[in-house]
Symmetry: C2
Subunit: 225 residues, 2 copies
DNA sequence: CAAGACATTCTTGTATACATAATAGTTGAC
DNA sequence: GTCAACTATTATGTATACAAGAATGTCTTG
Protein backbone atom coordinates (compact mmCIF):
# COMPACT_ATOMS: atom_id res chain seq x y z
CA UNK A 1 0.00 0.00 0.00
CA UNK A 2 1.29 3.42 0.92
CA UNK A 3 4.64 3.36 2.63
CA UNK A 4 4.48 6.90 3.96
CA UNK A 5 5.41 7.73 7.48
CA UNK A 6 2.28 9.68 8.31
CA UNK A 7 0.17 6.89 6.87
CA UNK A 8 1.74 4.32 9.14
CA UNK A 9 1.52 6.71 12.05
CA UNK A 10 -2.15 7.24 11.40
CA UNK A 11 -2.84 3.53 11.50
CA UNK A 12 -0.66 3.14 14.56
CA UNK A 13 -2.37 5.87 16.54
CA UNK A 14 -5.79 4.84 15.30
CA UNK A 15 -5.07 1.33 16.45
CA UNK A 16 -3.94 2.66 19.79
CA UNK A 17 -7.25 4.42 20.16
CA UNK A 18 -9.54 1.56 19.21
CA UNK A 19 -7.62 -0.90 21.37
CA UNK A 20 -7.86 1.46 24.28
CA UNK A 21 -4.16 2.19 24.69
CA UNK A 22 -5.08 5.80 24.20
CA UNK A 23 -8.10 6.11 26.43
CA UNK A 24 -11.08 8.34 25.66
CA UNK A 25 -10.44 11.83 26.90
CA UNK A 26 -6.69 11.34 26.87
CA UNK A 27 -4.56 14.16 25.61
CA UNK A 28 -2.33 13.36 22.65
CA UNK A 29 0.88 15.30 22.97
CA UNK A 30 2.53 15.85 19.61
CA UNK A 31 6.09 16.00 20.90
CA UNK A 32 5.56 12.96 23.05
CA UNK A 33 4.21 10.95 20.11
CA UNK A 34 7.00 12.25 17.90
CA UNK A 35 9.74 11.07 20.22
CA UNK A 36 7.93 7.80 20.83
CA UNK A 37 7.78 7.00 17.13
CA UNK A 38 11.16 8.53 16.40
CA UNK A 39 9.92 11.11 13.91
CA UNK A 40 9.38 14.84 13.87
CA UNK A 41 6.15 16.55 14.76
CA UNK A 42 5.19 17.11 11.13
CA UNK A 43 4.01 13.60 10.20
CA UNK A 44 2.46 13.25 13.64
CA UNK A 45 0.38 16.34 13.03
CA UNK A 46 -0.67 15.08 9.62
CA UNK A 47 -1.75 11.79 11.12
CA UNK A 48 -3.70 13.61 13.82
CA UNK A 49 -5.34 15.78 11.17
CA UNK A 50 -6.67 12.70 9.46
CA UNK A 51 -7.91 11.14 12.69
CA UNK A 52 -9.57 14.43 13.52
CA UNK A 53 -11.36 14.45 10.19
CA UNK A 54 -12.58 10.90 10.75
CA UNK A 55 -13.87 11.86 14.15
CA UNK A 56 -11.66 9.68 16.31
CA UNK A 57 -10.04 12.64 17.99
CA UNK A 58 -10.99 16.23 18.63
CA UNK A 59 -8.67 19.17 18.27
CA UNK A 60 -9.34 22.44 19.94
CA UNK A 61 -7.33 25.35 18.55
CA UNK A 62 -4.11 25.91 20.44
CA UNK A 63 -5.18 23.32 22.95
CA UNK A 64 -4.13 20.11 21.36
CA UNK A 65 -5.84 16.88 20.45
CA UNK A 66 -7.77 14.57 22.73
CA UNK A 67 -9.30 11.18 22.07
CA UNK A 68 -13.02 11.67 21.71
CA UNK A 69 -15.08 10.56 24.67
CA UNK A 70 -18.63 10.40 23.38
CA UNK A 71 -21.50 10.68 25.80
CA UNK A 72 -23.64 7.57 26.19
CA UNK A 73 -26.45 8.99 24.10
CA UNK A 74 -24.04 9.63 21.28
CA UNK A 75 -22.69 6.09 21.49
CA UNK A 76 -26.28 4.93 21.29
CA UNK A 77 -26.83 7.03 18.17
CA UNK A 78 -23.75 5.58 16.58
CA UNK A 79 -24.96 2.04 17.20
CA UNK A 80 -28.34 3.05 15.85
CA UNK A 81 -26.81 4.18 12.56
CA UNK A 82 -24.52 1.17 12.49
CA UNK A 83 -27.54 -1.09 12.88
CA UNK A 84 -29.20 0.54 9.93
CA UNK A 85 -26.15 0.25 7.71
CA UNK A 86 -25.54 -3.36 8.70
CA UNK A 87 -29.16 -4.13 8.04
CA UNK A 88 -28.78 -2.64 4.61
CA UNK A 89 -25.61 -4.65 4.02
CA UNK A 90 -27.42 -7.79 5.08
CA UNK A 91 -30.33 -7.10 2.76
CA UNK A 92 -28.02 -6.51 -0.18
CA UNK A 93 -25.94 -9.54 0.74
CA UNK A 94 -29.04 -11.72 0.74
CA UNK A 95 -29.78 -10.68 -2.80
CA UNK A 96 -26.31 -10.41 -4.25
CA UNK A 97 -24.05 -12.90 -2.51
CA UNK A 98 -22.01 -15.22 -4.66
CA UNK A 99 -20.87 -18.72 -3.91
CA UNK A 100 -17.58 -17.35 -2.63
CA UNK A 101 -19.39 -14.93 -0.35
CA UNK A 102 -21.50 -17.76 1.00
CA UNK A 103 -18.45 -19.88 1.80
CA UNK A 104 -16.64 -16.96 3.44
CA UNK A 105 -19.68 -16.20 5.56
CA UNK A 106 -20.10 -19.82 6.64
CA UNK A 107 -16.40 -20.10 7.39
CA UNK A 108 -16.48 -16.99 9.56
CA UNK A 109 -19.59 -18.29 11.31
CA UNK A 110 -17.90 -21.60 12.09
CA UNK A 111 -14.91 -19.79 13.53
CA UNK A 112 -17.25 -17.88 15.81
CA UNK A 113 -18.83 -21.14 16.89
CA UNK A 114 -15.44 -22.59 17.73
CA UNK A 115 -14.48 -19.49 19.67
CA UNK A 116 -17.72 -19.61 21.62
CA UNK A 117 -17.25 -23.30 22.33
CA UNK A 118 -13.80 -22.60 23.79
CA UNK A 119 -15.25 -19.65 25.71
CA UNK A 120 -12.45 -17.47 24.38
CA UNK A 121 -13.91 -13.97 24.43
CA UNK A 122 -10.96 -12.36 22.67
CA UNK A 123 -11.04 -14.89 19.89
CA UNK A 124 -14.77 -14.54 19.52
CA UNK A 125 -14.32 -10.81 19.39
CA UNK A 126 -11.86 -11.16 16.53
CA UNK A 127 -13.84 -13.75 14.58
CA UNK A 128 -16.96 -11.68 15.04
CA UNK A 129 -15.26 -8.94 13.07
CA UNK A 130 -14.53 -11.40 10.31
CA UNK A 131 -18.18 -12.42 10.28
CA UNK A 132 -19.42 -8.89 9.90
CA UNK A 133 -16.77 -8.05 7.32
CA UNK A 134 -17.93 -11.03 5.30
CA UNK A 135 -21.43 -9.58 5.22
CA UNK A 136 -20.17 -6.17 4.15
CA UNK A 137 -18.21 -7.77 1.34
CA UNK A 138 -21.19 -9.86 0.25
CA UNK A 139 -23.26 -6.70 -0.16
CA UNK A 140 -21.15 -5.96 -3.24
CA UNK A 141 -21.35 -2.27 -2.50
CA UNK A 142 -17.81 -1.13 -1.93
CA UNK A 143 -18.94 2.23 -0.61
CA UNK A 144 -21.28 0.66 1.90
CA UNK A 145 -18.53 -1.74 2.86
CA UNK A 146 -16.15 1.13 3.53
CA UNK A 147 -18.69 3.06 5.55
CA UNK A 148 -19.45 0.00 7.63
CA UNK A 149 -15.79 -0.66 8.27
CA UNK A 150 -15.18 2.91 9.40
CA UNK A 151 -18.10 2.90 11.80
CA UNK A 152 -17.24 -0.60 12.96
CA UNK A 153 -13.77 0.61 13.89
CA UNK A 154 -15.08 3.59 15.77
CA UNK A 155 -17.40 1.41 17.78
CA UNK A 156 -14.83 -1.25 18.46
CA UNK A 157 -14.09 -0.19 22.05
CA UNK A 158 -17.76 -0.28 22.98
CA UNK A 159 -18.45 -3.49 21.12
CA UNK A 160 -15.77 -5.09 23.21
CA UNK A 161 -17.43 -3.79 26.33
CA UNK A 162 -20.67 -5.46 25.38
CA UNK A 163 -19.16 -8.91 25.29
CA UNK A 164 -18.57 -8.62 29.01
CA UNK A 165 -22.26 -9.05 29.62
CA UNK A 166 -23.11 -12.54 30.76
CA UNK A 167 -24.20 -14.86 28.00
CA UNK A 168 -23.78 -12.18 25.38
CA UNK A 169 -21.44 -14.40 23.38
CA UNK A 170 -23.95 -17.24 23.28
CA UNK A 171 -26.84 -14.98 22.34
CA UNK A 172 -24.72 -13.27 19.72
CA UNK A 173 -23.79 -16.57 18.15
CA UNK A 174 -27.40 -17.70 17.97
CA UNK A 175 -28.28 -14.47 16.21
CA UNK A 176 -25.42 -15.05 13.80
CA UNK A 177 -26.95 -18.40 12.90
CA UNK A 178 -30.28 -16.82 12.05
CA UNK A 179 -28.55 -14.11 10.04
CA UNK A 180 -26.60 -16.64 8.02
CA UNK A 181 -29.78 -18.58 7.30
CA UNK A 182 -31.58 -15.46 6.12
CA UNK A 183 -28.77 -14.33 3.87
CA UNK A 184 -28.10 -17.75 2.36
CA UNK A 185 -31.78 -18.28 1.67
CA UNK A 186 -31.93 -14.88 0.00
CA UNK A 187 -34.45 -13.40 2.41
CA UNK A 188 -33.44 -9.75 2.28
CA UNK A 189 -36.10 -8.45 4.65
CA UNK A 190 -35.29 -11.01 7.29
CA UNK A 191 -31.57 -10.40 6.98
CA UNK A 192 -32.13 -6.69 7.42
CA UNK A 193 -34.35 -7.07 10.44
CA UNK A 194 -32.11 -9.63 12.12
CA UNK A 195 -28.95 -7.59 11.62
CA UNK A 196 -30.64 -4.46 12.86
CA UNK A 197 -31.64 -6.24 16.01
CA UNK A 198 -28.25 -7.85 16.36
CA UNK A 199 -26.30 -4.62 16.19
CA UNK A 200 -28.57 -2.11 17.90
CA UNK A 201 -28.25 -1.61 21.62
CA UNK A 202 -31.89 -1.69 22.51
CA UNK A 203 -33.61 -2.01 25.83
CA UNK A 204 -31.53 -3.79 28.45
CA UNK A 205 -28.44 -3.82 26.30
CA UNK A 206 -28.22 -0.05 26.46
CA UNK A 207 -28.30 -0.17 30.22
CA UNK A 208 -25.63 -2.86 30.18
CA UNK A 209 -23.46 -0.71 27.97
CA UNK A 210 -23.78 2.30 30.22
CA UNK A 211 -22.94 0.23 33.23
CA UNK A 212 -19.83 -1.12 31.56
CA UNK A 213 -18.68 2.32 30.46
CA UNK A 214 -17.85 3.03 34.07
CA UNK A 215 -15.88 -0.19 34.43
CA UNK A 216 -13.26 0.67 31.88
CA UNK A 217 -9.60 0.91 32.72
CA UNK A 218 -8.71 4.00 34.69
CA UNK A 219 -8.68 7.01 32.37
CA UNK A 220 -5.81 8.92 33.82
CA UNK A 221 -3.39 7.18 36.16
CA UNK A 222 -4.24 9.25 39.23
CA UNK A 223 -1.23 11.37 40.06
CA UNK A 224 0.44 10.44 43.31
CA UNK A 225 2.47 13.43 44.42
CA UNK B 1 -15.68 28.65 15.56
CA UNK B 2 -12.06 27.77 15.09
CA UNK B 3 -10.04 30.57 13.59
CA UNK B 4 -7.15 28.43 12.46
CA UNK B 5 -5.63 28.84 9.06
CA UNK B 6 -5.80 25.20 8.06
CA UNK B 7 -9.39 25.04 9.19
CA UNK B 8 -10.39 27.88 6.94
CA UNK B 9 -8.32 26.45 4.12
CA UNK B 10 -10.05 23.12 4.51
CA UNK B 11 -13.47 24.69 4.18
CA UNK B 12 -12.28 26.82 1.29
CA UNK B 13 -10.87 23.92 -0.70
CA UNK B 14 -13.77 21.67 0.21
CA UNK B 15 -16.13 24.32 -1.03
CA UNK B 16 -14.15 24.62 -4.22
CA UNK B 17 -14.55 20.90 -4.77
CA UNK B 18 -18.28 20.62 -4.14
CA UNK B 19 -19.01 23.70 -6.22
CA UNK B 20 -16.97 22.27 -9.05
CA UNK B 21 -14.24 24.90 -9.13
CA UNK B 22 -11.84 22.06 -8.56
CA UNK B 23 -13.11 19.49 -11.01
CA UNK B 24 -13.08 15.73 -10.39
CA UNK B 25 -9.74 14.31 -11.41
CA UNK B 26 -8.01 17.66 -11.10
CA UNK B 27 -4.61 17.75 -9.52
CA UNK B 28 -4.24 19.91 -6.42
CA UNK B 29 -0.79 21.43 -6.38
CA UNK B 30 0.34 22.31 -2.89
CA UNK B 31 2.60 25.15 -3.87
CA UNK B 32 0.00 26.59 -6.19
CA UNK B 33 -2.66 26.52 -3.46
CA UNK B 34 -0.17 27.96 -0.99
CA UNK B 35 0.62 30.98 -3.14
CA UNK B 36 -3.03 31.41 -4.01
CA UNK B 37 -4.08 31.59 -0.38
CA UNK B 38 -0.95 33.44 0.68
CA UNK B 39 0.24 30.86 3.17
CA UNK B 40 2.97 28.28 3.36
CA UNK B 41 2.59 24.66 2.29
CA UNK B 42 2.18 23.43 5.84
CA UNK B 43 -1.42 24.45 6.52
CA UNK B 44 -2.30 23.51 2.94
CA UNK B 45 -1.04 20.02 3.52
CA UNK B 46 -2.96 19.75 6.77
CA UNK B 47 -6.13 20.83 5.03
CA UNK B 48 -5.54 18.29 2.27
CA UNK B 49 -4.93 15.59 4.85
CA UNK B 50 -8.34 16.21 6.31
CA UNK B 51 -10.05 16.22 2.93
CA UNK B 52 -8.24 13.01 2.12
CA UNK B 53 -9.52 11.40 5.30
CA UNK B 54 -13.07 12.46 4.48
CA UNK B 55 -12.73 10.98 1.01
CA UNK B 56 -13.09 14.13 -1.05
CA UNK B 57 -9.60 13.84 -2.46
CA UNK B 58 -7.16 11.02 -3.00
CA UNK B 59 -3.46 11.20 -2.30
CA UNK B 60 -1.05 8.79 -3.85
CA UNK B 61 2.37 8.72 -2.18
CA UNK B 62 4.79 11.11 -3.81
CA UNK B 63 2.26 11.79 -6.50
CA UNK B 64 0.16 14.50 -4.99
CA UNK B 65 -3.53 14.93 -4.36
CA UNK B 66 -6.33 14.78 -6.89
CA UNK B 67 -10.03 15.44 -6.51
CA UNK B 68 -11.78 12.08 -6.44
CA UNK B 69 -13.57 11.15 -9.62
CA UNK B 70 -15.81 8.25 -8.66
CA UNK B 71 -17.00 5.84 -11.29
CA UNK B 72 -20.75 5.84 -12.00
CA UNK B 73 -21.33 2.62 -10.10
CA UNK B 74 -19.68 4.13 -7.06
CA UNK B 75 -21.81 7.26 -7.31
CA UNK B 76 -24.79 4.95 -7.45
CA UNK B 77 -23.64 3.18 -4.32
CA UNK B 78 -23.22 6.48 -2.54
CA UNK B 79 -26.77 7.52 -3.40
CA UNK B 80 -27.95 4.11 -2.28
CA UNK B 81 -26.42 4.58 1.16
CA UNK B 82 -27.61 8.18 1.30
CA UNK B 83 -31.15 6.99 0.56
CA UNK B 84 -30.99 4.58 3.44
CA UNK B 85 -29.68 7.15 5.88
CA UNK B 86 -32.22 9.74 4.78
CA UNK B 87 -34.95 7.16 5.12
CA UNK B 88 -33.78 6.51 8.64
CA UNK B 89 -33.69 10.24 9.39
CA UNK B 90 -37.22 10.55 8.06
CA UNK B 91 -38.46 7.68 10.17
CA UNK B 92 -36.91 9.13 13.30
CA UNK B 93 -38.16 12.59 12.43
CA UNK B 94 -41.70 11.27 12.07
CA UNK B 95 -41.54 9.93 15.59
CA UNK B 96 -39.49 12.56 17.33
CA UNK B 97 -40.10 15.90 15.69
CA UNK B 98 -41.03 18.83 17.90
CA UNK B 99 -43.21 21.78 17.08
CA UNK B 100 -40.12 23.76 16.13
CA UNK B 101 -38.98 21.00 13.81
CA UNK B 102 -42.37 20.92 12.16
CA UNK B 103 -42.33 24.66 11.54
CA UNK B 104 -38.80 24.57 10.16
CA UNK B 105 -39.72 21.73 7.83
CA UNK B 106 -42.84 23.48 6.56
CA UNK B 107 -40.92 26.70 6.10
CA UNK B 108 -38.24 24.96 4.05
CA UNK B 109 -40.91 23.23 2.01
CA UNK B 110 -42.62 26.52 1.25
CA UNK B 111 -39.34 28.02 0.12
CA UNK B 112 -38.90 25.10 -2.26
CA UNK B 113 -42.40 25.70 -3.60
CA UNK B 114 -41.60 29.34 -4.23
CA UNK B 115 -38.35 28.43 -5.96
CA UNK B 116 -40.13 25.93 -8.15
CA UNK B 117 -42.84 28.43 -9.00
CA UNK B 118 -40.21 30.92 -10.14
CA UNK B 119 -38.44 28.15 -12.05
CA UNK B 120 -35.19 29.15 -10.40
CA UNK B 121 -33.12 25.98 -10.43
CA UNK B 122 -30.28 27.40 -8.36
CA UNK B 123 -32.63 28.68 -5.72
CA UNK B 124 -34.48 25.38 -5.60
CA UNK B 125 -31.16 23.64 -5.27
CA UNK B 126 -30.29 25.76 -2.25
CA UNK B 127 -33.70 25.51 -0.59
CA UNK B 128 -33.72 21.78 -1.21
CA UNK B 129 -30.65 21.54 1.00
CA UNK B 130 -32.49 23.43 3.71
CA UNK B 131 -35.38 21.00 3.41
CA UNK B 132 -33.21 17.96 3.85
CA UNK B 133 -31.24 19.56 6.66
CA UNK B 134 -34.52 20.21 8.45
CA UNK B 135 -35.29 16.51 8.31
CA UNK B 136 -31.86 15.56 9.63
CA UNK B 137 -32.31 17.97 12.50
CA UNK B 138 -35.79 16.66 13.25
CA UNK B 139 -34.40 13.15 13.65
CA UNK B 140 -32.83 14.33 16.91
CA UNK B 141 -29.86 12.10 16.33
CA UNK B 142 -26.87 14.39 16.10
CA UNK B 143 -24.65 11.62 14.84
CA UNK B 144 -27.06 10.69 12.07
CA UNK B 145 -27.41 14.35 11.24
CA UNK B 146 -23.65 14.70 10.89
CA UNK B 147 -23.33 11.61 8.75
CA UNK B 148 -26.10 12.80 6.48
CA UNK B 149 -24.53 16.21 6.12
CA UNK B 150 -21.16 14.73 5.18
CA UNK B 151 -22.63 12.45 2.56
CA UNK B 152 -24.90 15.19 1.34
CA UNK B 153 -21.88 17.38 0.74
CA UNK B 154 -20.03 14.68 -1.13
CA UNK B 155 -22.97 14.10 -3.39
CA UNK B 156 -23.64 17.76 -3.98
CA UNK B 157 -22.07 17.92 -7.46
CA UNK B 158 -24.14 15.00 -8.70
CA UNK B 159 -27.32 16.17 -7.04
CA UNK B 160 -26.97 19.36 -8.98
CA UNK B 161 -26.59 17.38 -12.18
CA UNK B 162 -29.87 15.62 -11.55
CA UNK B 163 -31.85 18.82 -11.48
CA UNK B 164 -31.00 19.27 -15.14
CA UNK B 165 -33.39 16.51 -16.04
CA UNK B 166 -36.65 17.83 -17.39
CA UNK B 167 -39.41 18.17 -14.82
CA UNK B 168 -37.16 16.88 -12.07
CA UNK B 169 -37.81 19.97 -9.98
CA UNK B 170 -41.57 19.51 -10.19
CA UNK B 171 -41.41 15.82 -9.39
CA UNK B 172 -39.01 16.49 -6.54
CA UNK B 173 -41.33 19.07 -5.04
CA UNK B 174 -44.31 16.74 -5.21
CA UNK B 175 -42.29 14.10 -3.38
CA UNK B 176 -41.35 16.69 -0.77
CA UNK B 177 -45.02 17.29 -0.15
CA UNK B 178 -45.68 13.63 0.51
CA UNK B 179 -42.64 13.42 2.76
CA UNK B 180 -43.78 16.38 4.82
CA UNK B 181 -47.23 14.85 5.20
CA UNK B 182 -45.78 11.53 6.36
CA UNK B 183 -43.43 13.12 8.88
CA UNK B 184 -45.98 15.54 10.29
CA UNK B 185 -48.56 12.79 10.67
CA UNK B 186 -45.99 10.67 12.47
CA UNK B 187 -46.00 7.86 9.93
CA UNK B 188 -42.43 6.62 10.29
CA UNK B 189 -42.68 3.79 7.78
CA UNK B 190 -44.12 6.00 5.08
CA UNK B 191 -41.54 8.71 5.72
CA UNK B 192 -38.77 6.16 5.41
CA UNK B 193 -40.09 4.69 2.19
CA UNK B 194 -40.79 8.04 0.60
CA UNK B 195 -37.39 9.47 1.43
CA UNK B 196 -35.65 6.35 0.20
CA UNK B 197 -37.42 6.67 -3.10
CA UNK B 198 -36.81 10.38 -3.24
CA UNK B 199 -33.07 10.14 -2.77
CA UNK B 200 -32.16 6.93 -4.55
CA UNK B 201 -31.27 7.08 -8.22
CA UNK B 202 -33.31 4.15 -9.40
CA UNK B 203 -34.31 3.07 -12.84
CA UNK B 204 -34.37 5.86 -15.38
CA UNK B 205 -32.81 8.35 -13.01
CA UNK B 206 -29.58 6.39 -12.99
CA UNK B 207 -29.43 6.55 -16.75
CA UNK B 208 -30.12 10.28 -16.63
CA UNK B 209 -27.31 10.75 -14.15
CA UNK B 210 -24.83 8.85 -16.29
CA UNK B 211 -25.84 10.85 -19.31
CA UNK B 212 -25.30 14.12 -17.47
CA UNK B 213 -21.91 13.05 -16.12
CA UNK B 214 -20.58 13.47 -19.64
CA UNK B 215 -22.06 16.93 -19.98
CA UNK B 216 -20.08 18.50 -17.21
CA UNK B 217 -17.75 21.40 -17.72
CA UNK B 218 -14.51 20.45 -19.42
CA UNK B 219 -12.28 18.69 -16.93
CA UNK B 220 -8.94 20.01 -18.03
CA UNK B 221 -8.73 23.10 -20.22
CA UNK B 222 -7.18 21.34 -23.19
CA UNK B 223 -3.66 22.65 -23.58
CA UNK B 224 -3.18 24.63 -26.74
CA UNK B 225 0.50 24.51 -27.55
C1' DC C 1 -3.99 33.62 54.56
C1' DA C 2 -6.20 34.21 50.21
C1' DA C 3 -6.77 36.16 45.76
C1' DG C 4 -5.24 38.31 41.72
C1' DA C 5 -1.77 39.70 38.50
C1' DC C 6 2.39 38.97 36.16
C1' DA C 7 5.96 36.25 34.34
C1' DT C 8 7.80 32.01 32.74
C1' DT C 9 7.42 27.86 30.42
C1' DC C 10 5.40 24.65 27.52
C1' DT C 11 2.81 23.47 23.45
C1' DT C 12 0.63 24.45 19.28
C1' DG C 13 0.59 26.66 14.67
C1' DT C 14 3.10 28.25 10.64
C1' DA C 15 7.12 28.96 7.82
C1' DT C 16 11.24 27.51 5.75
C1' DA C 17 14.81 24.41 4.50
C1' DC C 18 16.44 20.05 2.99
C1' DA C 19 16.12 15.28 1.04
C1' DT C 20 14.11 12.06 -2.01
C1' DA C 21 11.23 10.22 -5.47
C1' DA C 22 8.88 10.93 -9.80
C1' DT C 23 8.42 12.95 -14.16
C1' DA C 24 9.70 15.07 -18.23
C1' DG C 25 12.95 16.39 -21.54
C1' DT C 26 16.97 15.63 -24.12
C1' DT C 27 20.41 13.01 -26.17
C1' DG C 28 22.33 9.04 -28.12
C1' DA C 29 22.21 4.63 -30.23
C1' DC C 30 20.16 1.18 -33.06
C1' DG D 1 13.15 7.93 -37.26
C1' DT D 2 12.05 5.83 -33.03
C1' DC D 3 12.93 4.07 -28.62
C1' DA D 4 15.44 3.89 -24.48
C1' DA D 5 18.35 5.66 -21.01
C1' DC D 6 20.16 9.30 -18.39
C1' DT D 7 19.93 13.75 -16.47
C1' DA D 8 17.73 17.66 -14.74
C1' DT D 9 13.88 19.76 -12.76
C1' DT D 10 9.90 19.87 -10.05
C1' DA D 11 6.99 18.55 -6.34
C1' DT D 12 6.27 15.78 -2.29
C1' DG D 13 7.61 14.26 2.39
C1' DT D 14 10.03 15.20 6.63
C1' DA D 15 12.69 17.96 9.78
C1' DT D 16 13.73 22.06 12.11
C1' DA D 17 13.19 26.72 13.42
C1' DC D 18 10.44 30.49 14.87
C1' DA D 19 6.27 32.86 16.64
C1' DA D 20 2.32 33.21 19.45
C1' DG D 21 -1.07 31.73 22.70
C1' DA D 22 -2.40 29.10 26.76
C1' DA D 23 -1.50 27.21 31.23
C1' DT D 24 0.72 27.15 35.43
C1' DG D 25 3.24 28.82 39.20
C1' DT D 26 4.95 32.39 42.06
C1' DC D 27 4.99 36.72 44.14
C1' DT D 28 2.85 40.56 45.95
C1' DT D 29 -0.82 42.92 48.03
C1' DG D 30 -5.05 43.39 50.56
Amino acid sequence: MSANTFHKLRDEIENGIVTGEFAPGERLDELQLATRFGVSRTPIREALMQLSAIGLIETRPRRGAVVVDPAPDRIYEMFEVMAELEGMAGALAARRHTEEDRLALLSAHEKCEAAEASEDTDRYYYDNELFHSAIYAASHSTFLEEQCMVLHKRLRPYRRLQLRVRNRMKVSLREHGDIVAAIVSGDADAARALLRGHVAVQGDRFGDLIANLGRREIRKPSLST
